[in-house]
Amino acid sequence: MHPGNNHSLPITSSTAEGSETPTQPMYLDYEHLVADMSGDIQITEDILALFLADMPKLIKLLNYNHFQGETEKAKNLAHKIKGAALNTRANKLSEQARFVEECYMKQDARHIEDAMEKLNSIYETTIKHIKTKLQKVNYNG
């Protein structure tokens, strides 16, 4: 299944961060995350800060194991990234990690390289969105 066909993830109804179309999952659904935490901005920020601290290690490990041909480890890391991103409401990254996990499960060598490249790109953009959001939140007090 292509990520664009997966409707199990929340679909955005707004373009809060400015670069997504209404039918695409958001890089960061901040409002949803705040709602998850019952409006507690401090814990929301803590979760985003933990994401910024943890996710680079996971992405680095995934790329390393992918490069080394350690498919089982890579699949497990894609699964972990999918879950961590989903709980952070980094929906676009979660969806792409799901696609990578699926490629590994199906041993889909034809799509895995493109899927990994896209995952890395989405990851970089997600990090930028989160940093921007944290700066805005802190600026607005």
Partner: protein
């Protein structure tokens, strides 16, 4: 207020779930693998365990089986994200899990589940 042990190898999920449970006035102990969780349970039995299913050190399914065998009255809730391949949530229920939760954890679903037990 209940004492709840949560198990997940993902620190983000642990932080988020812990905060959600504490907001509902529960006392939470969080652990990032099933092996240490069994030690923690034996030292201080909680009133509920919420565990992820797919973890590297010890799969949540194994943890569920150990809890069901050793602490048959202790409610165990399993959680998992969207599933590729085997339906681990259904499998965990067939092995004795009391309930299941889908990731990402939905606040209302979590509260509804807690109300059923406490």
């Amino acid at each position: 207020m209940a004492k709840i042990l949560i198990i997940d190898d993902d620190s983000i999920t642990l932080m988020k779930l812990k905060a959600m449970l504490e907001q509902a006035n529960h006392e939470v102990v969080s652990i990032n693998d099933g092996i240490h969780a069994m030690n923690a349970i034996s030292e201080n039995i909680p009133e509920m365990v919420i565990t992820d299913i797919i973890m590297p050190e010890q799969e949540g399914i194994d943890t569920v089986m150990q809890i069901v065998e050793n602490y048959p009255d202790l409610p165990v809730v399993t959680m998992s994200g969207d599933q590729l391949g085997i339906n681990f949530l259904e499998l965990s229920k067939s092995l004795g899990a009391s309930a299941t939760l889908r990731k990402p954890i939905d606040k209302d679903e979590l509260h509804k589940l807690l109300n059923e037990f406490f």
